[in-house]
Symmetry: C2
Subunit: 192 residues, 2 copies
């Protein structure tokens, strides 16, 4: 009956999410190079081909993980912004929260912003979670600022550069705070 079908779809949806979280946990524990379809299948206690009945391939699994990440990032930035009453300080707080997110969840961050993807920032098919995260930056500027989207984009990019060079060990992480202070002082101080 339909009840049976519903139960099956429910179980299937659960397994779908199980694969995503297992992939994320494995990546956060051992890095994305350790996330192979075999190890992932073993972890969810199914055979390899089951993964392909849920996702078109490994890329699609990474993409699903990243979309979960966008949601969490949006929430994280949102908390930082709303916890800062003074509007002039909001962008400071959001920037700090962003780098915090990147350094504390490096594998998740990699899936979101480093690994090959077809996700776009500003596009009709942009996942709403990503748009929400972006809007946390945009909201830090006055609504009558015609270039607030551009500002947000550049600040995001700059933070990304700092985050990713630090994560890959190319710049020393111990002076990260100084870089952030300088960046904020230069970019975030209430523009036109």
């Amino acid at each position: 009956m339909s009840a049976i079908k519903e139960r099956r779809e429910r179980e299937r949806a659960q397994r779908h999410q199980l694969i995503i979280t297992a992939a994320r946990e494995l990546a956060e524990a051992e890095g994305w190079e350790a996330v192979t379809t075999r190890r992932l299948a073993e972890r969810v206690e199914y055979s390899q081909p089951v993964l392909y009945s849920h996702f078109s391939g490994k890329d699609a699994i990474v993409r699903a993980v990243s979309i979960d990440g966008f949601g969490e990032l949006a929430a994280h930035l949102g908390r930082a912004r709303s916890a800062t009453p003074e509007p002039g300080q909001a962008l400071h707080a959001v920037c700090r929260a962003y780098l915090e997110f990147a350094t504390e969840r490096p594998a998740l961050y990699q899936a979101m912003f480093v690994m090959p993807t077809d996700v776009k920032f500003a596009h009709a098919e942009t996942p709403p979670q990503l748009r929400a995260a972006f809007d946390e930056f945009v909201s830090c500027f006055r609504p009558d600022n015609a270039r607030r989207e551009l500002f947000a984009e550049v600040i995001w990019s700059a933070l990304h550069g700092v985050a990713v060079l630090s994560d890959s060990g190319r710049i020393p992480p111990d002076t990260q705070d100084e870089r952030l202070d300088f960046l904020i002082a230069r970019l975030a101080d209430t523009p036109s």
Copy 2:
């Protein structure tokens, strides 16, 4: 005799460089995922194990390509800086030249700044080519500026963020100039 040995070493050095340039050409033509040891060996017309008599592994080949790239980047930035007589405009020119380099040689840029590496920016074992490139940024600030190294590091990071997000298609490349202008206006205007 020693002449024979010399000839052999010369040939060996040529083959060493041949491998590096072949890897780079293949990467620039089809991306790094197309650079496999088999295809590379076929391209240099030797068998696979020959690669391993020159390099400890594929990573080492990528590293060699990236060090060549650092040299070219330093030269490219140096030309931009010395072609700009007015000191206040030097940083503008160097920033533009940097993004130019990144967008015109995306595969090379990836090897230098995105792919996993053990190369550090500011470190005792930093390749001199990389140090030279970094110094092109540093030289744009007055020598009595105590924080010029930090400034250079942050500007580099911000440019890297813009370059890499644009290259991976996450931000649209057609508004790159606007981003650069904003970034330069904010970061490059003669600081303290």
